[in-house]
């Protein structure tokens, strides 16, 4: 299930909230977990088992590490010879990391790896593995279990933090399940690290402040997704399927610009909804986006885009690898590794790898001195530099088919079948210009700043504004949700 359809908003959510609020305190986590499983099982019931397995194993890893840590500690204290110290927790940690990566690998990357090997060596190992080619099982077409990238990363953050003694071990399987499966952030993030919700998982209070803010925040996200992302997405969909012979350079740029807006409003809208829903259940999730399209360098962009993912990679990959503490050469290697992984995390195909490499190169150039140049440039120039590079990045990102992708990039580079501008591009601009402008301006912090200026002085005025916004937004979103079955979440692949 996703947040932006009527079965969620008018059936699932009211039922969960009702049950959650009438449930006594000690049952609240259980209620939330039970409904989260229903939420997850709604579309593909079988995959719920995968998630449950992941929950159980990581719960046990956590217990085991904390248990061994005490034993190790006691033992290490008792001996005087430092070289004979025991570190069995490290072994368990390695096992847990291997388990999680293997889990992700099997369900997300099998097809990709098999395809790559087939392409490289001209083999058909998928058919060999399955036996006969005419069996109707296609190894490569096993659908990706929704949200597996998100919950696996959350589980890993928990086990690693238990090992690092950054968090206390969770001995309650129900509340641990709540952490992993909580439906507000289950499918498309943000990636909540255990330490940020540790306290709230154990004890929290739902308040009127949080509930009203939560509804407001959820409405913002719903509007972003339903009113903007879906509509610019429809424009992009009509362009992305065009052959190169039908494309003009202008159409291609229009398309990728539409996608740029779509992916931001889709994803940040989803994060807003997640944060809003979290508040309704008494949780405070960290922000995931900070107006990334305002950035004036790629470095800054990645500090503002999908913050929970960058933070995760920083904490659990970049810093453990040594970060910038082991010299320039090592730092460059570390950045390269992190970005290769970031690319791969987004999807199991080569365009995502390429996209990761693209950002690795840009970030390295900036690290090696260009950042200082950018700071001295006029604001507009550095903004244009960043925005154009990000848009080109999305062009790479959006085509998992190499041929389509390269054709599209050629069209962007003034080498399109229909020349510079075509008739359909003129029509699309005319028909969508207001929407695109709302999108572009809406992605900046301008509106937020304006609201603060207008409503900032009076809290009552601000709340009147919020009430009006929520009602209008719910009303319009209902119209769009009922009218259209067009509702795919872009981040489902991950």
């Amino acid at each position: 299930m996703v947040f932006s359809n009527i079965e969620f908003l008018f059936v699932f959510l009211p039922i969960v909230l009702l049950c959650y609020y009438i449930a006594p305190r000690f049952l609240k986590n259980a209620v939330l977990t039970a409904f989260s499983l229903v939420f997850y099982a709604w579309d593909r019931p079988a995959y719920t088992i995968l998630m449950i397995i992941s929950i159980v194993f990581n719960f046990l890893f956590g217990l085991l590490i904390s248990h061994r840590a005490k034993l190790d500690e006691a033992y290490n204290k008792s001996i005087s010879d430092k070289t004979k110290e025991k570190h069995t927790t490290r072994v368990i940690l390695v096992i847990s990391v291997v388990f999680n990566l293997f889990y992700l690998g099997v369900f997300k990357y099998t097809g990709f790896i098999v395809n790559t090997i087939n392409d490289l060596f001209h083999t058909d190992i998928d058919k060999i593995v399955i036996g006969t080619a005419d069996k109707n099982i296609d190894l490569l077409k096993v659908a990706l279990p929704i949200g597996i990238s998100f919950y696996t990363f959350q589980a890993m953050s928990y086990v690693i933090d238990v090992y690092r003694k950054n968090v206390n071990v969770n001995k309650n399987i129900v509340s641990f399940s709540t952490y992993i499966s909580m439906f507000p952030q289950l499918i498309a993030g943000p990636i909540v690290r255990y330490k940020t919700v540790d306290k709230e998982i154990r004890s929290r209070k739902e308040t009127v402040d949080m509930a009203s803010e939560g509804i407001f925040r959820f409405s913002i996200g719903l509007g972003k997704k339903v009113l903007i992302a879906n509509n610019v997405g429809a424009l992009w969909d009509s362009i992305r399927v065009m052959e190169r012979s039908e494309l003009s350079t202008f159409t291609a740029w229009l398309g990728v610009f539409a996608f740029t807006l779509q992916i931001y409003f889709d994803f940040s809208g989803y994060s807003d909804m997640a944060i809003g829903l979290g508040k309704l259940f008494g949780f405070n999730f960290s922000e995931n986006f900070e107006h990334p399209y305002e950035s004036r360098s790629i470095t800054e962009f990645w500090r503002r885009w999908h913050i929970s993912l960058s933070t995760w990679f920083k904490e659990y990959v970049y810093i453990p690898l040594g970060g910038n503490r082991k010299g320039k050469g090592r730092q460059i290697l570390n950045i390269a590794i992190v970005w290769l992984l970031t690319g791969l995390w987004h999807g199991a195909s080569w365009n995502f790898v390429l996209w990761g490499v693209y950002y690795a190169i840009l970030l390295l150039i900036e690290k090696l001195g260009f950042l200082k140049v950018l700071e001295k440039l006029p604001k507009l120039i550095s903004w244009i530099y960043t925005f154009v590079l990000v848009v080109i990045g999305w062009a790479i990102f959006s085509f998992s088919d190499v041929k389509y992708g390269s054709d599209f990039v050629k069209s962007l580079c003034f080498n399109a079948g229909k020349g510079l501008v075509s008739r359909d591009a003129a029509f699309m601009v005319m028909s969508n210009i207001i929407l695109l402008l709302i999108g572009l301006i809406g992605s900046f912090s301008l509106i937020k700043k304006l609201c603060i200026k207008v409503f900032g002085k009076s809290e009552s005025a601000a709340w009147i504004g919020r009430v009006l916004f929520v009602i209008t937004c719910l009303f319009l979103c209902s119209a769009y949700m009922v009218s259209s079955t067009y509702n795919p979440f872009l981040y489902f692949r991950f």
Binding site: F10, V208, A211, I215, R423, A426, F427, M430, V470
Partner: protein, 430 residues
């Protein structure tokens, strides 16, 4: 104050969602959507296996969205919001000038293979028919869709579709003497594009549009009775000739009697559409292009030409084997339903036989789609019998039908271009 407002935000949201739930539950017994022309989903069966394979969930979502409170109203609001933000194309419908809602066609809506196939079937049939009754008596009439005939009503930069021209070229190449056989109504209709020749909210042409089409067909078929080369395919040519002269005088008398047409002499039997009088039947028609976006623009008017021959015609409907005699050309009860275009002939059937008040045995074979339903009243003036064959419902070769026809003087294949290009039933022309 702040607290009160926070409470009111929560309460209003809860009220809004509860209200929708209540109205949806009240709406649960509705089973058919008039606007969408389809049955609504029923509540899915519940069983463990259906839940595990997701069928129940899918069924539930369909059921919910089909029965959601004010469903049609939401679609209107969405369309209006789209128009407010400058959208000119919604659900593949162009929001045209003067309240015209025009369906969009682009090259990718058509398959060249299907077009080639259709051109082949049509040309083979037409060439064969021409050989036996002469090219003067066999016509392929191409009725352009709204988007082409009313190009002037389209929004700026709307997309071009070149497939119709492709189809026209294919037909012209394959049909013998194509210049006289093919009647392309594009230019004749375009000349009148400032008149009410298509419905604003439906894809069909109006009675007036059909009248302009009739004018072209009449011109092309030539003046009846003066053509000595005409021969019935299945009938004796001598008796045929006699009958023809009968037909000539009788049709003349009829028209004089009616004095509804502009007619100055024996040689000038061409009826000017402007000369027809029309009867207004309904002014609240919302058709197919409206249904796609539920946007209330100015409603359409259903009119019929005041033609006695059509009023008095005796119609036999063969609905895929089920034959009903004693029917009429017009169906006033259809004016109370959503699809008021069905006023003409009550819809489409595999075969419709029209027996007009004329009594000269002259027979027209008409291979048709729904566009012909508005056209046929005019043709009632000129023939004793009209056989309308809709291959989309026939499911058997056209020759099976023709076997039972004693004679035929003229053969018309009347197609809306776009529907023709997508339809695969021309197969039955062989």
């Amino acid at each position: 104050m702040k607290r009160k407002l926070q409470y009111s935000l929560i309460i209003l949201s809860v009220l809004y969602i509860s209200a929708m739930i209540v109205f949806t539950v009240m709406n649960r017994n509705k089973s058919y959507s008039e606007l969408e022309k389809r049955k609504l989903a029923t509540f899915p069966k519940v069983s463990l296996s259906r839940i595990l394979n997701g069928k129940f969930q899918k069924g539930f979502v369909d059921y919910l969205s089909d029965h959601f409170a004010f469903r049609d109203g939401w679609v209107t609001i969405k369309t209006k919001a789209d128009i407010t933000t400058g959208k000119k194309l919604i659900n593949d419908i162009y929001i045209g000038k003067d309240d015209y809602l025009i369906e969009k066609y682009e090259d990718s809506d058509f398959e060249k293979d299907v077009i080639k196939e259709n051109a082949r079937y049509v040309s083979k049939f037409v060439n064969m028919a021409s050989e036996s009754i002469g090219t003067k008596h066999v016509k392929v009439v191409l009725v352009p869709g709204k988007a082409r005939a009313l190009k002037s009503k389209l929004p700026m930069f709307s997309s071009k579709c070149s497939m119709q021209e492709y189809m026209e070229k294919k037909l012209a190449k394959k049909i013998n003497d194509s210049d006289s056989v093919i009647i392309n109504l594009l230019e004749p209709l375009k000349k009148h594009d400032d008149e009410y020749i298509y419905y604003r909210t439906d894809h069909h042409w109006t009675a007036l549009g059909a009248a302009y089409g009739y004018e072209e067909i009449k011109n092309s078929l030539g003046v009846k009775g003066t053509d000595d080369t005409r021969e019935g395919m299945n009938s004796d040519s001598d008796t045929d000739k006699n009958k023809k002269s009968d037909s000539d005088s009788s049709s003349e008398n009829e028209k004089k009697k009616d004095s509804k047409s502009d007619k100055s002499g024996k040689s000038d039997l061409i009826t000017k559409p402007d000369g027809f009088k029309y009867v207004k039947l309904a002014d609240d028609f919302y058709g197919t292009t409206y249904n796609k976006i539920h946007l209330k623009v100015e409603a359409d008017v259903i009119e019929k030409p005041d033609i006695e021959a059509a009023e008095k015609a005796d119609v036999t409907i063969n609905d895929s084997g089920e034959i009903t005699k004693g029917k009429t050309m017009y169906y006033p009860e259809k004016l109370k339903t959503a699809d008021k275009y069905e006023y003409f002939l009550s819809g489409n059937y595999s075969q419709v036989i029209i027996d007009t008040p004329k009594d000269d045995g002259s027979t027209l074979i008409m291979v048709k789609d729904s566009y012909s339903n508005a056209l046929v009243p005019y043709l009632c003036q000129d023939y004793d019998y009209i056989y309308m064959i809709d291959l989309r419902y026939a499911n058997s070769s056209i020759f099976d039908t023709l076997q039972s026809v004693e004679r035929f003087d003229d053969i018309l294949l009347v197609y809306n271009e776009e529907k023709f290009m997508q339809d695969r039933h021309q197969y039955y022309l062989q």
